[in-house]
């Protein structure tokens, strides 16, 4: 539902989608993809190789972040249960 008075790019999207901030973790995905596209764009010899190179890198980063999250959660649980 479009909220009356909402100005795209001027007002926060949270006015239109309440509790958007609860899903802030999902906003990491486009950020990682953009970083990978630009970084790999400076590294690949031909732009035709870019989609595969950037895709691989994005998947690697997201998997690494997920593994780091699991590891940190496990450490946190171990510490809090030990206390």
């Amino acid at each position: 539902m479009m909220m009356l008075g909402y100005r795209p790019f001027f007002d926060s999207l949270e006015l239109v989608i309440p509790h958007l901030s609860d899903y802030w973790l999902l906003t990491l995905v486009p950020l990682v993809v953009a970083i990978c596209i630009v970084y790999k764009g400076t590294k690949v010899p031909a732009v035709a190789e870019l989609p595969v190179a950037a895709g691989k890198m994005a998947v690697q980063i997201l998997i690494a972040m997920a593994l780091a999250a699991v590891a940190l959660t496990a450490i946190y649980l171990l510490i809090t249960r030990a206390m």
Partner: protein, 188 residues
Amino acid sequence: MSRPPVTTNDAGPLEYFSIALGWLVPGAGHLLIGQRARGLVFMVTIHGLFAMGLLIAGIKAMNPADQPIWKYTQLVAGWPTLIANRLAAVQVNAEQQQMDDYGRAAAENPALNPDTYFKANPEVRPTYFPKVQDVGTVYCGIAGMLNLLVLFDLLIRVLGGPTPENAERDAAGVGKRDGAVAVTGGNG
């Protein structure tokens, strides 16, 4: 049609101008030196990331008062930041005016409830979504940092440094360079 290769020796004002243009319009510097596909990818990605930041957080993603480091990273994104900063200043002034108006109304009527006041005057409703605004600030700041990376790549190409294309050619043992490094035009 592709431009002929640019070497260190014949990098002229146009190539140096491309660096300034690359800051002002992300990706345009690569377009100017003939790296059209690469420039287009950089342009779409960086502008898209910046636009997503503003879409998510609104204009308050710009110039966060409590995190000044992002102000500088956002500035590297070029024209989108210059325009958005101006609009953000206008918005901040307007909200300050609205808060002053509320302050005066509250002074005249001590029983005035801010919720009631802003519900009755939705057009002056200040908004504050810190988590979402932080996300937008980071998006716009990262867009600036990515443009810095693109500017370094552009500088290397203009000054004849080692590009991925040359590294690949050298590894294949063809087209050995003699001092100057060619910046290829064409498909980027």
